[in-house]
Symmetry: C2
Subunit: 417 residues, 2 copies
């Protein structure tokens, strides 16, 4: 098993980190002693190691779902050209697979030097010399893939269709839908952007970009990393899926009606504008009531530490619930949603200023689940009742089926064809 | 001299890096031997240490000019409210100075916990728990500061006024000008955004945001870092100012007509859209002719290594210049501009897609010089002749006077009042 494979699975990760650190120290000092010492020393949260890479092939599941969240993301959806046919789609998925495997190794696609130059270069070049930076590329297929155009209607999973209108939707059609999606996550924004740009370029006769978001999180890193904060200033993702059992139960598709999607999942992407000036004018006590957690520590209002289990039954001396039943954490909690959990991978975004000079920023919310109804049900409750709704707008939305990772020599969603 | 001061001045920086690395290793293993070993070991380009901080006070010059470029930037310009008067401006500069000093230490401004909560919190909270990440905050004053409003006309430097229309300008008024500017650079985008957002919030009765850009560079780090690449895929900044003598000659203001600006500089910001799809359709050989450098190595077309000095007189066997006199490197070179150099600090940006589905991305170009005519002259030549003009559009522009850093107990531009 390679270092990358170990890392990919998120096990023994501190050993991996130590190993990489040891290589660097050992190489620079020429001494084996440094290696041995560093081998027991995972880096602090203040260090990022960009040399880590994840393999693309043979991982059962695509990366970027269970992968320890990287610090940056570029997310793009695509629309088919009118001329795109079944063969073109098949060819695109094969080319994207091959390119993704190379990009995740930190290498350019195609040759770099002009040599006998008869056409533009394959790779756009802005990542030459950069490290893999834990890049993962995650490709999704929209519901339109199973429309009449490609003759794939029989391969459509019964659970899969465009999202219905949900409570609280405030969607901009320019930020909604898409025939294909690419999520590129890495610890270097330039690596993310390069990956998506080059996949767009490889596909330009078949698909054109539809909408895109550049997402960022905090840069502190390492296994045991602290939960990132959204631009509301609150920790976001504390009660996320993390155990293999929960991934099997809630994320990975198993025993579905479409063999090609076994080991895959469904991706929901929402662009959520946050009305930061309004939020910032609110007292912390009110903000905490809306979220149901303490701002600095992230602890539920019924607890003292971030990972304390919220006690939704706890009452104050006056007999009121300590955690408001309409708070964000209460409405989203699996205890209050029939036990359902979704895997969230959210990134902050900023689009600068809006035409009125307000901060145009928010959250790129991406969730993974093996049944789209899980997201739909949770979001319908949140959209109807969440105290937070006064401060947010769901302006973009899309859903995609994410096939499993291919084996080497194969390509994404090959079972469709 | 503190660690940070050493780093701030860009000298002995590998010793500093080693020191920080040593702290981490030593603390984790409890051993002094690790420190001693690490002390001779700067981290590789693949490691970022987020614990580094720069002091705000007593540095002669503001940070973010000569500071080793951090990986991320948020740049925002502001407009005065109609009600802003001299006292309000003075008060704002004092509050921004105090806040900048705290933010650069990685601390929130004001208290966090609600306690006796009578008003919204001072700090918006999204950087709680994050490291300083080498944050520098650089504040600039626009030409309008010396208009009639503030009674500061007598303090206006003779060299300082709005930029004239320059060759190649394609400016969008929504991205042009500003009364004040804030440049926040750090190795964590969340730290940058938090800083600018909180300064905007502190100033909201006096100034409102006018335009803003989120900039990014490659994440690989460390002293001796390789030159970053722009989204054209070329190294950008190879022939930048780096020696103290050149800073004194070309960047820092000395012996000017305004004592309050001694040790300061002028900041020019340009938002430059790059037409990436057009660029990407060009052959590498043509791209190299346009830039005057090899794409992968960054070497001039007359050399073999990045830092080789371009030979603008060299001819090919056919008698043509090897470096086209209208190439970007030839027109920008100090050899062809009367010896003039400017300090550049550029970041890539992306605004997603434009309404036609093209990549909406480019370069946030920021330069520092002790005479605005240096930028004007170079840009006028480039704007008139640069082969690159077919692929770029200067869509945003502004100029600011950057006062020196205050001593502790003082504030930015205090000499104005």
């Amino acid at each position: 098993m390679s270092e990358s494979e170990i890392s990919r699975r998120g096990v023994l990760s501190s050993a991996l980190w130590a190993g990489i650190g040891g290589v660097a120290v050992g190489a620079a000092t020429g001494g084996g002693a440094a290696w041995a010492m560093a081998a027991s020393t995972p880096p602090s949260d203040d260090q990022i190691d960009l040399s880590r890479s994840y393999p693309f092939y043979g991982q059962n599941h695509q990366g970027g779902v269970a992968t320890e969240p990287q610090r940056n993301a570029v997310y793009m959806t695509f629309r088919f050209a009118d001329s795109a046919d079944r063969h073109a789609l098949q060819s695109l998925l094969a080319r994207w697979s091959a390119a993704a495997a190379v990009l995740q190794q930190g290498k350019p696609i195609g040759s770099v030097q002009p040599g006998v130059e008869v056409q533009p270069p394959t790779d756009t070049g802005e990542a030459f010399g950069l490290s893999p930076a834990s890049l993962t590329i995650t490709v999704g297929l929209g519901p339109s893939v199973f429309g009449p155009r490609f003759g794939l209607a029989s391969k459509k999973p019964a659970l899969f269709s465009e999202l219905p209108t949900l409570n609280g939707d405030f969607l901009d059609p320019r930020l909604t839908g898409g025939d294909l999606s690419v999520q590129a996550c890495a610890d270097d924004p330039q690596v993310c952007y390069h990956a998506v740009r080059n996949l767009a370029r490889l596909g330009r006769s078949i698909v054109s970009p539809h909408w895109a978001v550049l997402g960022f999180g905090r840069a502190s890193a390492g296994p045991g990393q602290s939960t990132p904060r959204n631009l509301l200033g609150f920790k976001d993702g504390t009660r996320n899926i993390s155990s293999p059992a929960d991934y099997d139960r809630f994320v990975w598709i198993k025993g579905g009606d479409q063999p090609w999607l076994e080991g895959g999942t469904y991706q929901v992407a929402r662009k959520i504008r946050q009305l930061l000036e309004t939020w910032d004018s609110d007292r912390v006590g009110n903000q905490q009531q809306i979220i149901g957690r303490h701002k600095e520590s992230g602890a539920p209002l019924t607890g003292s530490a971030e990972f304390d289990t919220p006690d939704f039954g706890a009452k104050s001396g006056a007999g009121d619930p300590v955690i408001d039943p309409l708070s964000h954490v209460a409405l989203a909690a699996h205890e209050n949603n029939g036990g359902i959990m979704i895997r969230r991978r959210s990134y902050n975004y900023t689009d600068g200023l809006d035409p009125t000079g307000q901060l145009n920023a928010g959250l790129l919310f991406i969730s993974y689940q093996n049944d789209p109804r899980h997201f739909i049900d949770i979001q319908n409750r949140l959209g109807a009742h969440d105290l937070l709704n006064e401060y947010i707008r769901h302006i973009g939305s899309a859903i995609f089926a994410v096939p499993p990772a291919p084996e080497e020599g194969h390509y994404l969603a090959q079972g469709l064809f």
